[in-house]
Symmetry: C2
Subunit: 602 residues, 2 copies
């Protein structure tokens, strides 16, 4: 049976020991000093809320699902009450601007809090997640009068937000969207169109929902360069902030989905609904870019969260469930059989789950640090550099960690055997829920094109080179002459990592050269390239973890905990990292093997 | 939206051109000559039944699910009527013994028919599948009086069968089972115990259900060597075959599962139920071995069937759905965007699906031929040799093809993007349905131990060597000096295949040597070894397909069809086969990376 305890020890180890967040926060002057005490109180508050309030609703939320009654979405039993508790705890305000009622804490802290909520109950956590996205978009691009009107209740949590992007015929190709916005004399717009796959598109949590909507102005050019961004409230808001009439926004239907059933996925119809333009006309997609990078880091968390939740369920079962005897003789002679954790293949699945959950978490935390620099960096140069680095890492995090999250959840089902396939145990729900993560906010294939096409080739791999230089510097600390307890042992990681990043660099150059002659080279290499890159980034994360664990172990730290880290790192290098080689081989194969086959042959 | 057309052209290409089944059938004298006409009429009848009767119930069966009413299982709407049509068509009798009303046709034909049913509607097809298993078990081990009593109505389809093996605390560890069988004065037994995960454990298709049950005699030794096999009818059967009272067999509950919801998975309770011993006392598990090999081939079909069904749905969508423009310029300038099949990564997913569906089908057909030799081979030596070869291939087919079936269904969801996650499209159902296939009838991990431990190490790799010799002989036809249209082109396949099988041979020897000192070597290598072997066997299948396709192409055959085969083979060798290298690297890693980590570190 699924269970959930916030992995506080693992989280603290990363936050304090591996990445030293307290030192990081000293770089950002804020009203409150973000020290270990404050971090701890957020971790503990999150753990309490996640374990006691959210997790108990995880499986019931799947069973109840959302339903549509008289045009209103009813969320699963208990979801609304949990939201009220969430708002009462002040958790909605964490990282938002104090000007609009936020606590002004660094984004990274809010990401850590989101991770806890998302692990406890991803479908529930999507509601505040969407509000978060709407707030950031309005704050970044809206006129001040809109910010003053809409942001305080959104930050406070008394209203919620959505992001209404795609339409039935679009998918990721937003250039095709048709929703129209007609300017009115009072400066507002009348919005008409139908948006699909709108997460939190309607619900019973709040009095109002503020939709952020992409639409076309009457004179807009075709394609992606003719899209503008609008605020469309579900209930009209007077200038003094009081609620008025219903706006012409209706829920057309609710999708019946494979998973995340507690999260409402709606068709939202706008029929001459009143909306307000934010950002410059026709530049709506550009306005979304920065948002998209940070929001995709949020999606990447789903991979880590699902791996963690599935691992916790599987680990418990593997220690309790008795089946067969160990290949090397009875391990529990007094029991009718050994616990299945003695079997190598069960351990391998657990270790893969751990590699993904704990290593993936490290990848997220490093990216979260960069988000802090992006928004609160002292100079424009620092902020821009952070934006570039995050831009490079985002598609890797989103694409790679969600793919691995699906894999991890699959192992969780497998460890339970037949019981994993039964709803009662919850393991299959994790798999169904995480399956969306490789699709929404841009599929893995879209992430891969973003990575190789935009973030690397358009940039001529400059940012990649800088990142590789950073990793090489890390490896350089443990060169051939490195000695001592840590020095000797780290070479097991830095040696293969160093040759991998060298290969990464040269293969990228070669791909760019070939792709300049045949664009299908990039197209047919892209997902393999993304996964290849992901395995290297994860290897870097595990090397960093191993370095700290070895250092602490030498000083006599908690042996069980630290050896667990080091041995998982070893496992990752020996039994997962070979996948990088495989992707390398696939991505350097000639594109003809994919493109030569004619369409009618399918 | 999911659709299904029996891939008759692909099937005929394998049956006639690649594997020459008509020639194969000439080796088995039977009442009817099994020629191309008879094969065709079975293919066409199967296609008609699958497309018109079974497939229309596929998605509705998932929605309706099975339900329990007053202790009886009600199957989804239309399932019973489809079964009646199935029986009326005489399809239940195909490969069974004419002595009991069967048509005595080769097993391989029945496997091909099952594949069509399983592709059209796997959950439905499980009902006759279980009856098939019960018939084979009773025929192989039952006394003649039981055969005469139970087999004719089972073969005719007026009764159905089940296999009741596991119990709540057992899983695959049947040595732990507790169901008791107490001998009675009349030679029958009273069976008491609770069996779980019983597919077709109850339903409304037939007047009676014959359960094949594993139980312990009072004096039975502990563990696997104290298990016997019994027939336990749901309704008692008089000596003249008429039905009597209800036996003490009850459905305790129905499982609510991730998928295969149209298939009833029941807890079946026996409470002093009357049963009849078949096979020697305490040898029940041994009696099951032969059955298990053939039934696992049946499970392997699920991987192929799901890949085919998902591919058909994805292929259609990829040609229709418009999104983005091709990287190399507009391909459909008159449309608002290009069909997504122009995108390399969409093609890659389609080609992976095809590699699995069409190559996996070839693996199944080759195994089906061996099953024919096993049951109808002319001499004991031939039958034994076939049994050995099938024993080697079974865990590879079952473990590898079901894992790949899950992967293929996942790509089908992914190609649909957000729509793939919506129930309405059916793509996610294929994924949920196939997910059980890597679990039931022995998980992939169990298959892997069976392969490496029993089928290879216990045999000292003799059968593997013989199989490798066969593949090397195939490769040998296209050595360095081979010329001509086919000869030159085949080297692209035979050269890498030949080096892989050489590596397979030597790596196996090395693993055996190391495992003789440390059994964890085998344990921690096993799943990687299974997958590695699977990719090689699939490579062999694709090389055989390519050989025939090239030969026909040279003679001016159907270019679209044949080039499709050859290019898919190329794709497989360039973009999937590198996975074998990765598994090789993982399986030769030291077992310490898996075993050194202490249990409390998890």
């Amino acid at each position: 049976m699924l269970e959930f305890k916030t992995p506080l020890k693992d989280m603290r180890f990363l936050l304090y020991d591996v990445f030293d967040f307290p030192a990081h926060y000293k770089l950002f002057p804020s009203e409150d000093v973000v020290d270990a005490d404050l971090i701890d109180s957020i971790l503990e508050g999150g753990a309490e809320f996640g374990e006691k309030v959210l997790f108990p609703l995880y499986m019931s939320g799947d069973k109840d699902s959302c339903r549509l009654e008289d045009g209103h979405v009813i969320t699963p039993k208990g979801f609304k009450e949990a939201y009220e508790e969430f708002v009462a705890g002040g958790w909605t305000t964490l990282s938002h601007n104090p000007k609009y009622g936020g606590q002004g804490l660094p984004h990274s802290l809010s990401a850590v809090f989101s991770e806890i909520m998302g692990t406890a109950n991803w479908p529930w956590a999507m509601y505040p997640g969407l509000t978060h996205g709407a707030i950031n978009t309005i704050e970044m691009h809206g006129e001040e009068r809109y910010k003053e009107l809409f942001l305080p209740p959104l930050v406070e949590g008394s209203w919620a937000g959505t992001m209404c992007l795609t339409e039935a015929h679009c998918g990721s190709d937003l250039g095709q969207l048709r929703t129209r916005a007609v300017p009115q004399e009072d400066g507002s717009y009348k919005i008409t169109g139908s948006k699909i796959f709108i997460s939190s598109g309607d619900h019973d949590f709040t009095d109002n929902i503020i939709h952020v909507v992409l639409a076309r102005l009457p004179d807009a050019p075709e394609g992606t360069k003719g899209i503008s961004l609008f605020i469309v409230p579900k209930i009209m808001v007077a200038e003094d902030g009081t609620l008025g009439e219903r706006n012409a926004v209706e829920v057309g239907s609710l999708e019946t989905k494979m998973g995340i059933k507690g999260s409402a996925t709606a068709v939202v119809n706008f029929d001459d609904a009143v909306g307000y333009l934010i950002g410059p006309p026709n530049r709506g997609l550009n306005c979304m870019f920065t948002f998209i990078n940070t929001s995709r880091v949020g999606n990447a968390i789903q991979g880590v969260a699902s791996a963690e939740l599935s691992y916790q369920g599987a680990r418990k079962y593997a220690k309790e469930r008795l089946s067969m005897r160990s290949l090397t003789g009875k391990k529990a002679p007094d029991l009718p059989a050994d616990p299945i954790i003695v079997h190598p293949e069960v351990r391998k699945m657990l270790l893969i789950q751990r590699s993904i959950a704990e290593g993936g978490r490290a990848m997220i935390y490093q990216a979260a640090k960069i988000v802090d620099f992006m928004s609160h960096g002292e100079t424009e140069a620092v902020r821009k550099a952070a934006d570039k680095r995050l831009g490079l890492l985002t598609p890797i995090l989103k694409g790679f960690l969600t793919e691995l999250g699906v894999e991890a959840a699959g192992h969780g089902v497998q460890i339970y055997g037949g019981h994993g396939y039964i709803k009662e145990m919850g393991m299959e729900q994790v798999l169904r829920d995480v399956r969306i993560s490789t699709i929404y906010e841009g599929t893995t294939q879209i992430q891969a094109l973003d990575l190789l096409g935009r973030k690397i080739m358009l940039d001529r791999a400059r940012e990649l080179d800088a990142y590789i230089t950073e990793i090489k510097a890390f490896c350089g600390k443990y060169g051939p002459l490195s000695v001592g307890y840590v020095g000797l042992r780290m070479k097991r990681f830095t040696k293969p990592l160093n040759s991998l990043v060298r290969q990464w660099k040269w293969t990228t150059k070669r791909l760019m050269l070939k792709a300049s002659r045949d664009r299908n080279v990039a197209g047919s290499a892209s997902v393999d390239y993304l996964m290849y890159s992901g395995y290297i980034v994860l290897a870097y994360a595990w090397a960093q973890i191993a370095e700290v664990a070895l250092t602490q172990l030498e000083k006599g730290g908690d042996e069980t905990f630290l050896k667990g880290k080091i041995q998982t790192a070893r496992f990752y290098y020996q039994r997962m990292l070979p996948r990088a080689i495989m992707h390398h081989k696939c991505m350097t194969a000639p594109p003809e093997s994919v493109m030569a086959i004619r369409e009618e042959c399918f």
